[in-house]
Symmetry: C2
Subunit: 341 residues, 2 copies
């Protein structure tokens, strides 16, 4: 087993910087597009055979040091009683979004080992398939981001409904996020039992919050997930976008690895986060759409800034974009592995 | 003339913190919605009588310390040969977006005093109407944001086309931004001649850039606009969203006033920007959708953090949202004026 990724998560020395890519299984891959021509996103998530195939697609053709479970952040919505689907070109759409405290209290609790057994089955198969290859990363959504999806019910430019709910109904907000925190913590524990060797918490929209709001409305709930996973002993990665102003607070969640977007140089962010954490990032995903020499130069800048410290996991600052040439992703992974100061 | 706003721009003492709101003329006002039921956004921009009326609407009913010209960032597109319109719910759509170096070279130059005479006429009327009341702010787009609109041609989540163009065609990119810099500088000079007493440069999308990219692809062109306005002696405000990671570079443009979004506490941002600049911001616009006491508390936090230093102009961290109750905007302006430590 290639354990570079796990060693970097634990701040141990590595023979080369480990690399994986958010959305490494996705539309930029011809194999993925072929499957998606026949199956919907939710079909793939619900069918272990398909989800296993999609998870393995990038591992087979790119020298990544980790696989990430193919699933969706919103998979826990259905067993909670939030009906949703994916609208072409728009992303998820929730048919019965949360708009009142009463809506929060209507949410159902569930046992992930039953209601999401298909995801755990996917993980068990992947664990066997990947045994001699690379570790498997599981994931879940942070309470703020889950609540924002549940309240907005669809895409949002400014999270106006979410924040209005937070400000106007703080008690119901904290009940909602407490519910998501308990649900996601249990779901991640179940993923770990089934075989994932690290978990990533996506707080995709936390960057929309000012610092005081992050501290009051998001941080306590994400922290409670991280705490609930501490005794399990697998690395917890936290990832968000546009988080430069709340980075130190995010480190306060206790996550072992902090995922960065591309906006701030990695060494400056790392200095603010502290030496006791690993860091994941942070190439602008659009770099892969430009010339190769420029992409390599941007990657080298990151590698140079992170050099000499343990705990750097190379990744993009956000997911691989659909128009990215596969060859650029392949070349980038090889380039990262070949980097020497 | 109430000159609090201009005094704060110049770091002079004021009797109360000046306040105005981005998009203070907009959909949240019943008077604006009534006009928009009869006229399109571009109709209003093109007709001085209508543009004057819309500009004055908030000045009549809210105690703001400045008016801002009602117009649109993309007004210079038409005389440059970029055809655009506003698509309901989606924002501007450019029919012939820039996709190649040849497209850049097809752009036309123009004399704003002729091609945009209607905007300057609006300013001349407003200058007379506002003579005894509050100063008038003019505005234009920063080259990066103008180029991003011209290249994307419509809304974009990640500016993938813009950045791919930047990386792949850097010479054409710099020609394009150089063209926008010259055009916007001349347009702002014409606005000042017509009577605006301050100008705001909107680099709305600069926050999508990593720091090295901002320095290479955006900063030099914005700086050239600021330099071109230095001898005119009116305050230049720079505004962008999600700029926490590039704030010091933005200050490097030389703008007199730096506009902040709501993500970072104003005192920390100000400390990074430096004591020699005024600062504008930075309440989360969604605060106005919540309870009044919470909105006041958030405003007080900003005012307390900025207290004891000259040069704070109170504003939101982005535009007033369409669902904002007018009474909240009115109450907020009065509350800011009444603030005492």
């Amino acid at each position: 087993m290639n354990d570079r990724f796990l060693r970097a998560c634990r701040l141990e020395p590595v023979d080369a910087t480990p690399v994986w890519f958010m959305r490494q299984a996705g539309r930029y891959m011809p194999e993925y597009r072929a499957l998606r021509a026949r199956y919907s996103l939710l079909d793939i998530c619900a069918n272990p055979e398909l989800a296993v195939a999609v998870t393995l697609q990038p591992v087979d053709v790119i020298n990544v040091d980790a696989a990430i479970l193919f699933s969706d952040l919103l998979v826990p919505f259905a067993p909670m009683g939030l009906d949703f689907d994916f609208v072409k070109g728009e992303g998820p759409s929730v048919q019965n979004p949360i708009r009142s405290p009463a809506d929060v209290d209507r949410l159902r609790t569930f046992e992930p080992r039953q209601a999401l057994g298909h995801v755990l089955e996917t993980i068990r198969i992947l664990h066997r398939e990947l045994a001699d290859r690379v570790p498997l990363i599981g994931f879940g959504g942070a309470p703020f981001t889950m609540a924002a999806y549940a309240i907005e019910g669809g895409p949002s430019a400014n999270y106006a409904r979410t924040k209005a709910f937070m400000y106007s109904e703080p008690a119901a907000w904290h009940r909602l996020c407490g519910r998501f925190a308990a649900t996601i913590a249990e779901y991640l524990r179940a993923q770990i039992e089934a075989g994932v060797q690290a978990v990533q918490i996506f707080d995709s929209w936390a960057g929309s919050l000012g610092r005081a709001d992050y501290q009051e409305f998001a941080l306590p709930h994400t922290s409670s997930i991280v705490s609930a996973l501490k005794d399990v002993g697998v690395p917890v990665i936290h990832f968000g976008v546009g988080t430069a102003a709340i980075l130190c607070d995010i480190a306060g969640t206790g996550a072992d690895v902090i995922g960065l977007d591309w906006r701030e140089p990695i060494d400056e962010a790392w200095a603010r986060i502290g030496q006791d954490r690993a860091i994941q990032g942070n190439l602008d995903p659009t770099s892969l759409l430009g010339p190769r020499d420029r992409m390599f130069a941007a990657a080298d800048d990151i590698l140079r800034r992170a050099a000499g410290r343990r705990g750097h996991i190379f990744n993009l600052g956000h997911g691989v974009l659909p128009d990215t040439p596969l060859e650029q992703v392949q070349a980038l992974a090889d380039h990262v592995h070949g980097f020497r100061l």
